[in-house]
């Protein structure tokens, strides 16, 4: 399906180029020119890339008449789209230097990965959410929470880099441009609660649907999602109670995000069968 004369994948490739360009501009400026690219420039570039990606996903969505969440490629793209949206709309409130550059790196890596593994973009897919808007909302909010957890992984990485710089007394590299560790630690806390709250809403919407359609419940999918939800909840509680230090919390956030992504892959492999059932049930 084309939109404004370009295919969905063409829009997404263009978006990836813009994200990669933003990342290179930001890092080259900081490390080579020793000058931070202004937040308005980075934000404008990221917004531009996000708009291109939105056009791509919209073109893809026109094919189904719904959210494009039918295969791994689309799930990854939607998660990246969510993370970027979070940076654009909430990121400025955090006032975190280099967050735009790190988010661009995140978008570039996952976008290139999803475009490279062609088998992820299975064109013979079954529309996985049928025409039920509630379960589609459940999936979209769940993926949005993954976007939040993705940003949390990024700010955690920033915390670890800055903390290491301070410990090792290295004032070069990214040190002058990264925020303070206390600010990053506070942001990490807020992001964990935010992601946890969004995933809770997602599960709430899902459970409302599943209660009416018990046969449609995929145990693996439900278990994986609940484990991710519980893990982030426990992580946030442990941090809030000071049981986890900021450093361990940051490492945990990164590892947990990697595991959450892996679980997403496993869930997706199981998806077509279950969702075909959902579609049939809806009929």
């Amino acid at each position: 399906m084309t939109f404004l004369g370009l295919e969905d994948l063409q829009w997404i490739r263009l978006a990836t180029i813009v994200f990669a360009g933003t990342f290179f501009l930001g890092t080259y400026s900081a490390l080579k020119l020793r000058r931070k690219t202004g937040r308005p420039y980075i934000l404008s570039l990221v917004v531009f890339g996000w708009a291109l990606q939105t056009f791509g996903l919209y073109a893809r969505g026109l094919e189904y008449g719904g959210c494009p969440l039918a295969n791994k490629f689309e799930l990854v793209q939607f998660m990246v789209w969510s993370a970027i949206a979070l940076y654009i709309f909430i990121g400025p409130a955090f006032r975190v230097s280099l967050l735009g550059v790190f988010t661009s790196a995140f978008a570039t890596i996952f976008s290139i990965l999803s475009l490279s593994v062609t088998s992820w973009d299975n064109l013979n897919r079954t529309p996985i959410f049928g025409d039920n808007p509630w379960i589609e909302m459940h999936a979209a909010t769940a993926l949005f929470s993954y976007g939040v957890f993705g940003i949390l992984a990024l700010t955690s990485a920033m915390y670890l880099i800055q903390s290491r710089n301070l410990k090792k007394k290295k004032i070069g590299g990214l040190f002058p441009y990264l925020p303070s560790i206390v600010e990053l630690s506070n942001i990490n806390m807020r992001l964990a609660w935010m992601g946890f709250a969004i995933l809770s809403v997602s599960l709430g919407i899902g459970s409302f649907y599943w209660a009416k359609n018990l046969d449609s419940v995929d145990f693996v999918k439900l278990s994986a999602t609940v484990i991710v939800w519980l893990a982030y909840g426990i992580l946030a509680i442990l941090r809030a109670s000071q049981t986890l230090t900021s450093k361990r919390y940051s490492w945990s956030s990164i590892i947990l995000f990697a595991l959450a992504l892996l679980s997403l892959g496993a869930v997706q492999d199981k998806e077509p069968k279950t969702l075909s059932t959902i579609v049939e049930l809806d009929r």
């Binding site: 020793r34 800055q162 301070l166 410990k167 007394k169 004032i171 070069g172 040190f175 002058p176 990264l178 925020p179 303070s180 560790i181 206390v182 600010e183 630690s185 000071q242 230090t245 900021s246 450093k247």
Partner: protein, 347 residues
């Protein structure tokens, strides 16, 4: 003010070519600055004048009628200082025309300062200009040179690393504090010892927003005395363990035989800090804080050598930026001077 062509000169007595004991002869206060302006105002051949007077630098920026030369300008200073022209010539450096414009930009950008890239001089030049402007001693030539010169300074500071990084120990420590705590508003600092470096750092922290201070000394009476001056809480040195967890930044600069803060003490304080980091700055010799404290997660320990190394690295970085900055200063001064020549305002 004359509308004919002027000669633009700078007579500069500064730290670069005059030792401190000689510079002292030329040190003047604000009233005396006014006393130099007065003969310039009264002179028939001085069209514009501006005096820059700092602890390291006395400079007279002056525009003369085209038929006059530097001897005439020097005579004004010679009369004021009650010296002969030859004596002043011995200490003063003279800049004229394009070189003078370039000199102004380099001075304002901190390229001629003792601490390369320091920003205070820019404020001092701007104040000197504002004062001269207010008393109507500057006219079309100096107005243009200073206003365009200030733009060049901004360009230098924004496009080079001349002002990057802190180059004195107190400011390096404060800068590191901001990398740990972010905005220092509401942060607290405990100063162990009542020496000058502690006071300087406390002042620098206060200027950046730190609000709560404690000062510890061997005797409570001495601590009370200094705490009164700083607006801090007095603490006897043998009681610091009880207070350590209440402070974000601990700066130690006293003379001790054994470290005042051991790993065990730091660990105990850390456990009560609810996850907030602890920044330990050890400026003592011998060291006041056990080096093993840095093994603790969320404790950041910097000693005198660490801070000095950072200051030196920043200084080196600034030195590297001098060539780039001078190139910009030359390019901009040529443009400013060419414009004045085109307008027929200078010769």
């Amino acid at each position: 003010m004359s509308s004919s062509k002027s000669r633009f000169l700078i007579i500069s007595i500064n730290h670069e070519n005059v030792p401190l004991e000689q510079r002292e002869r030329y040190a003047i206060d604000d009233d005396q600055v006014e006393a130099i302006y007065q003969p310039c105002d009264d002179s028939e051949f001085v069209t514009e004048s501006l005096i820059l007077n700092t602890c390291n630098r006395f400079e007279l920026y002056i525009c003369l009628n085209s038929d006059k030369n530097e001897e005439d300008a020097l005579e004004i200073l010679a009369k004021f200082y009650e010296l002969n022209i030859a004596e002043i010539k011995e200490h003063a450096r003279l800049f004229e025309g394009l070189d003078a414009v370039s000199h102004l930009i380099e001075v304002s950008a901190g390229l001629r300062s003792q601490i390369i890239g320091e920003v205070e001089i820019y404020g001092q030049v701007k104040n000197a200009y504002a004062y001269s402007y207010k008393r109507k001693s500057v006219g079309t030539v100096l107005n243009r040179i200073f206003q365009k010169g200030f733009q060049a300074v901004k360009l230098i500071r924004n496009s080079t690393q001349i002002g990057e990084g802190q180059v004195n120990i107190s400011n390096v420590a404060v800068n590191l504090s901001t990398k740990i705590f972010g905005n220092l508003k509401g942060t607290s600092a405990l100063i162990l010892g009542t020496g000058e470096i502690g006071e300087k750092t406390a002042k620098a922290l206060k200027s950046r927003g730190a609000t709560h201070f404690g000062v510890a000394s061997r005797t409570l009476s001495r601590a009370e005395e200094v705490a009164g001056e700083w607006g801090a809480v007095p603490i006897a040195m043998d009681q610091i363990n009880e207070y350590l967890d209440k402070y974000d930044i601990v700066l130690a600069s006293t003379i001790v035989e054994e470290p005042l803060i051991t790993k065990k003490i730091a660990q105990k304080a850390l456990s009560k800090r609810k996850g907030r980091p602890l920044f330990l700055i050890d400026l003592g010799m011998p060291r006041n804080i056990d080096q093993s404290c840095e093994d603790l997660d969320n404790v950041f320990l910097y000693n005198l050598d660490d801070l000095a190394a950072i200051a030196e690295e920043n200084q080196t970085q600034r030195q590297r930026a001098v060539a780039d900055s001078k190139a910009i200063a030359n390019q901009k001064s040529e443009a400013i001077w060419a414009n004045l020549v085109t307008r027929g305002q200078v010769q």
